[in-house]
Subunit: 162 residues, 2 copies
């Protein structure tokens, strides 16, 4: 049993390492580091900088079901969608600018627009519990959004260029 | 001279009266009255309810050039764009939902989306001085935005219905 558990840890670490190498997480890390004006994070690894994006099932269970999101979590949500916007730009050549509108109780909406096109639109809820099971889940979800938005832009390129 | 001044006042009043009858200002008044939960405005005329939307040149000159908008003016801006959204719906049959994102110093952006289309997009600045010379100017500007957004929706109807 101990061996199986160890193996699972090794596998998870390998998955995290390959997640950290993806273009999406590299973009997100770059965005976060760009705001480290005082160099407080200089010695931190990428995994450490991203650690608040990961909320395990146990951690999630311990969070209240209803709660007001604090500024830190709102900032993480913003950076997450900003990273999606930058990756969309890398893939399509068009700037996708995010706009977020949140109620203080933690629900709201975020959209990414390219020209006159809403490339991505997402209803947010329970933002105080925003997080992913693993770094792999984080990058998989981010890449999925980027792919969907890029497909939208290719489909309606006239509007996206308007 | 006194006669000319009087004539100007009469003309202005007539212009205001016809502005108040427009569909745009009727919609805006309805929106504002809908939020009067305690009936405090029941005895107020439409012109009184709209009076804070009018800022004469003299009043504007007396306002600081730079300033943080207070919640009241932000609320007026929101209701103004909500009225534009409702009028767009009346004209095109499609819901146009507003989203506003403001910096506390009074600049930001407001958009109205219909389906996947950004029907209206406007950069806002100096929001603490938001207002119009007259009620006619207010309704003229509102109607202009409605017409532009409706034209956009007709042009890209596939995206607006997506």
């Amino acid at each position: 049993m101990a061996e199986i558990a160890e193996l699972a840890v090794v596998e998870a670490t390998l998955a995290d390492a390959s997640a950290l190498a993806t273009s999406f997480l590299q973009t997100l890390v770059r965005l976060l580091r760009a705001q480290d004006s005082y160099g407080a994070w200089e010695k931190k690894s990428d995994a450490e900088i991203l650690k608040d994006y990961v909320i395990t099932r146990e951690q999630r269970r311990s969070l209240p079901i209803i709660g007001d999101p604090d500024p830190d979590v709102l900032w993480r949500v913003e950076q997450y969608y900003a990273a999606i916007g930058l990756c969309i730009e890398k893939e399509t050549g068009l700037v996708a600018s995010p706009m977020m509108s949140m109620h203080h109780e933690g629900f709201g909406r975020v959209i990414l627009t390219a020209g006159r096109l809403v490339a991505l639109s997402k209803q947010l809820r329970d933002v105080h519990r925003f997080g992913f099971d693993t770094l792999s889940a984080l990058t998989a979800e981010g890449e999925k959004q980027v792919a969907a938005a890029a497909a939208m832009i290719r489909k309606y390129s006239e509007v996206a260029n308007a």
